[in-house]
């Protein structure tokens, strides 16, 4: 049987996207934790272009970039499909996945930016929340995928779990639940799915890590 390995980092939402997809499809895999400040030669060999996690290695062949990995996993193991079968519906799902992908690296910066730069990041967060509220979750759907979670839900995972920790580390509240009722419901629903619920990184640990990182960045800026 082909061996599946996943190179990851304990706090990365991109890594968790792949973990959830593999678990939803019941695919056993070996997980290898990477120290991102000291990347292994194997990781650099498997992902020489971006040098990042996650990297999925299937039968010795590496697949890089979380969304590329998700699509690959969905195609190789078609059980519990993560994308609609209809080409048009699929194109719409891919649009929202790309939207989330484009926003995610920007919004992550909230905790380590200040003043004008931070305000620009806040604006991006609000755009993402508004898009979810007014477009993606329209019709009072339980999940982006309808009755079951799909790749779009997984793509928006930052809102579900990482938003809170980033806000804590930044000392700034961006998300006001009463302004985004559909998103609030979605967050509860998403985190209640057993595979999600039992596979989430510890929030206190992330906040501590981000605060340390923020300190390091500010120290190096003033030096």
């Amino acid at each position: 049987m082909a061996v599946v390995k996943l190179f990851g980092a304990w706090l990365s939402p991109y890594v968790f996207r792949v973990i959830w997809a593999l678990k939803l499809k019941g695919i056993p895999y070996e997980y290898i934790e990477e120290d991102l400040s000291n990347k292994s030669p194997l990781l650099l060999q498997y992902n020489p272009i971006h040098k990042k996690v996650p990297v999925l290695v299937h039968d010795g062949k590496p697949v890089c970039e979380s969304t590329v990995i998700l699509r690959y996993v969905d195609e190789i193991w078609p059980q519990n499909p993560l994308l609609p079968a209809d080409p048009y519906d699929r194109a719409v799902a891919l649009f929202w996945i790309k939207f989330a992908d484009d926003k995610s690296p920007i919004i992550a910066k909230l905790y380590r930016t200040e003043d004008e730069e931070q305000q620009a990041v806040v604006k991006e967060w609000l755009e993402m929340l508004e898009a979810m509220e007014e477009h993606v979750l329209i019709g009072g759907k339980k999940f982006c995928g309808g009755d079951e979670i799909n790749m779009v839900d997984i793509a928006f995972c930052m809102i579900a779990h990482w938003l809170g920790v980033i806000e804590d580390a930044a000392g700034l509240k961006v998300f006001e639940p009463h302004k985004f009722p559909r998103v609030s419901s979605w967050i509860q629903n998403f985190k209640s799915v057993p595979i999600i619920k039992y596979n989430l990184p510890n929030t206190d640990k992330i906040v501590a890590y981000l605060k340390r990182r923020k300190e390091m960045l500010l120290t190096s800026k003033s030096n």
């Binding site: 690959y72 048009y88 939207f99």
Partner: protein
């Protein structure tokens, strides 16, 4: 059932060119609508309310936004002719990775963004900033050249997904070279050979604007936005 295909487009956009090439490869008849980006049509705003950008592919009244998603959609719906993505999942993943790489690197370095976001680093900046941008662009192009290797196309023996994703930017090379004062061919001869090979295909040749025309357009934009 008669298929109705409309493409909302803007002639110098490399993203629009991607969809033009895909439609041409498949021999699809479509209505091409040129947008004035300073005065976007009601149709564009209705069909792409989130980004308000071109290209937008409208198939039987339903919009598909984002150029690479359009190319994949076209490839799936009209799957009986000129396949762009390989059928093998691993090869497909590789193709998607490289198309994503093109999007991440080329766009952010130099090919910018159109009219309102115009300000690609190679021509807007001067001195050191420009030198850095040039260096990064060449590194990116060399990496793509390496990935191409000895294959005639990124897709192998025939034009594929990555070729369609990347070749439109060739129409901007002349403008970049003039503004940045460097030669891409000198740095990446194999890549230029690949580009010329692609240009021999009718679907590509009729989808890309003339390089001089693109350069003139950039100069107009620079004047308009007071860059010189």
């Amino acid at each position: 059932m008669a298929e109705e295909v409309v493409l909302l487009d803007f002639w110098p956009s490399p993203f629009g060119m991607r969809s033009r090439i895909a439609l041409a490869e498949k021999g699809i008849k479509y209505e091409h609508k040129e947008e004035d980006l300073r005065n976007k049509s009601a149709l564009l705003l209705q069909m792409n309310p989130v980004h308000k950008k071109i290209p937008v592919l409208i198939h039987n009244g339903k919009p598909v936004c984002e150029s690479l998603i359009q190319v994949q959609y076209i490839d799936e719906v009209w799957h009986d002719k000129a396949p762009l993505l390989p059928s093998d999942p691993y090869q497909k993943a590789t193709a998607r990775f490289w198309a994503d790489y093109v999007d991440k690197k080329i766009r952010s370095f130099s090919f910018s963004f159109f009219i309102y976001e115009l300000g690609g680093r190679v021509w807007k900046t001067k001195g050191e900033e420009q030198a850095t941008a040039k260096k990064e662009l060449i590194e990116t192009l060399k990496l793509l050249e390496k990935e191409l290797g000895d294959k005639p196309y990124f897709g192998g023996e025939s034009l594929g997904y990555v070729d369609v994703a990347f070749i439109p930017f060739y129409s901007w090379f002349y403008a970049l070279e003039k503004c940045g004062n460097f030669s891409i061919e000198a740095e990446c001869p194999k890549l230029i050979a690949w580009a010329k090979r692609c240009m021999q295909k009718e679907s590509v040749a009729k989808s890309l604007p003339d390089q001089q025309k693109v350069y003139d357009f950039i100069l107009e934009m620079k004047k308009h936005f007071g860059n010189e």
